[in-house]
């Protein structure tokens, strides 16, 4: 067991009708705890009014995304050791580009709504889910397995994306990555949605989405691939007009 650390949690606070400010909580932690454990303890023992979202505590639900020392993190799998030091500060802020419900809790309705509207699959055959990182050998039976998608819809990518900061209608990394996974071949409606002002071209290759993605989605790579798909489709359509 490692020595405990004394750290300061600087938590962004904002209640309805109030000005945003930071509250500081001095707390003793095990550096091998997760950031979310520290936040939960602040709530349990120090201040019951702190609002934050969390559910699964093992990176499958995507509820506990926050900005930890200015970087988007899924706090349930972020070791305190990796983001601060003994005597250090943990600055916790809500994700950007989503309306705040209270304190650290944001309303991600816009993301969920978009994912639903463009038909991003939540559950899909295992071989399709493994496109980016396939196992060395496929068992013939693997084709029948169905599994939850890699994307846990946590919104970190939207918070980190510079384009999403100014353009509220930009589809955003998670949604575009989902469209890429579905493919746009033979889906003219989807082609028109992504080949437009708020679609793939709003991405400016900052690769921030991939830098913060906690769940193997690699949205930037998928957006790049989607662009190639769009260009191919457009040329195909140009030369094969009915």
């Amino acid at each position: 067991m490692s020595e405990n650390w004394n750290i300061t949690l600087k938590v962004s606070r904002q209640k309805e009708g109030e000005k945003p400010h930071f509250d500081e909580f001095k707390i003793e932690v095990d550096p091998d705890e997760y950031v979310l454990d520290a936040v939960e303890r602040v709530w349990a023992f120090m201040d019951r009014t702190v609002c934050f979202r969390h559910a699964c505590h093992h990176s499958t639900c995507g509820a506990c995304g926050m900005r930890v020392n200015n970087v988007e993190k899924l706090t349930c799998i972020t070791y305190i050791r990796d983001v601060t030091h003994d005597g250090g500060v943990l600055k916790l802020e809500p994700l950007r580009n989503f309306p705040i419900i209270s304190d650290l809790a944001v309303d991600m309705g816009s993301l969920y709504n978009r994912l639903e509207t463009v038909g991003v699959r939540a559950i899909l055959p295992a071989p399709e889910a493994e496109i980016e990182n396939p196992p060395a050998t496929w068992d013939s039976a693997d084709q029948q397995y169905i599994r939850l998608a890699d994307c846990i819809e946590c919104g970190l990518c939207i918070s980190a994306c510079p384009s999403a900061a100014t353009s509220s209608e930009y589809l955003g990394p998670a949604v575009l990555a989902g469209v890429q996974a579905n493919g746009i071949k033979g889906n003219p409606e989807m082609l028109n949605i992504v080949d437009a002002e708020d679609g793939v071209w709003r991405c400016h290759s900052a690769f921030e989405c991939t830098a913060v993605c906690p769940s193997y989605v690699d949205p930037a790579r998928r957006i790049m691939n989607l662009r190639t798909q769009v260009i191919k489709e457009r040329f195909t359509r140009l030369f094969h007009k009915a």
């Binding site: 816009s110 353009s167 028109n192 437009a196 708020d198 709003r202």
Partner: protein
């Protein structure tokens, strides 16, 4: 795709950007890198003195390849810069009518810049005759 929800969702696809516009920008980009590289090499390494007087510039323009290359360069750089600028403005979610005006302004500005550049190149080339 109907909208019955309380949140902003997927708006009807807006035509402000598309594959062709974007390709225009992405193709003129590398073209500029090449033209600019040639431009610099010619200016700074091939021409001994580096085109530092009026007469040198005029003499330089007597080779017909030079004005042609410069005009090509100008057309690319104007296209790339204005479509790039437009891309940045699109990030700011301009209102439809503002975008419409902007498009006209950019087209008129770009065409005038190229016409002006062609006139300038031809004027300089003619000085030496």
């Amino acid at each position: 795709m109907t909208q019955t929800t309380a949140f902003p969702s997927v708006s009807a696809p807006k035509s402000g950007e598309n594959t062709w516009l974007w390709l225009l920008k992405i193709i003129t980009g590398p073209l500029l890198v090449i033209l600019l590289a040639i431009h610099f090499i010619v200016n700074h390494y091939i021409s001994e003195t580096g085109l530092l007087t009026y007469s040198e510039v005029v003499a330089y323009y007597q080779n017909p390849i030079i004005p042609i290359m410069e005009i090509l360069f100008l057309a690319s750089v104007v296209t790339h810069s204005l479509s790039g600028l437009r891309g940045i403005i699109l990030d700011l979610k301009p209102a439809r009518h503002v975008l419409k005006i902007l498009d006209w302004v950019l087209v008129i500005f770009g065409v005038s810049a190229v016409v002006y550049g062609v006139w300038l190149a031809l004027t300089i080339a003619s000085k030496g005759v």
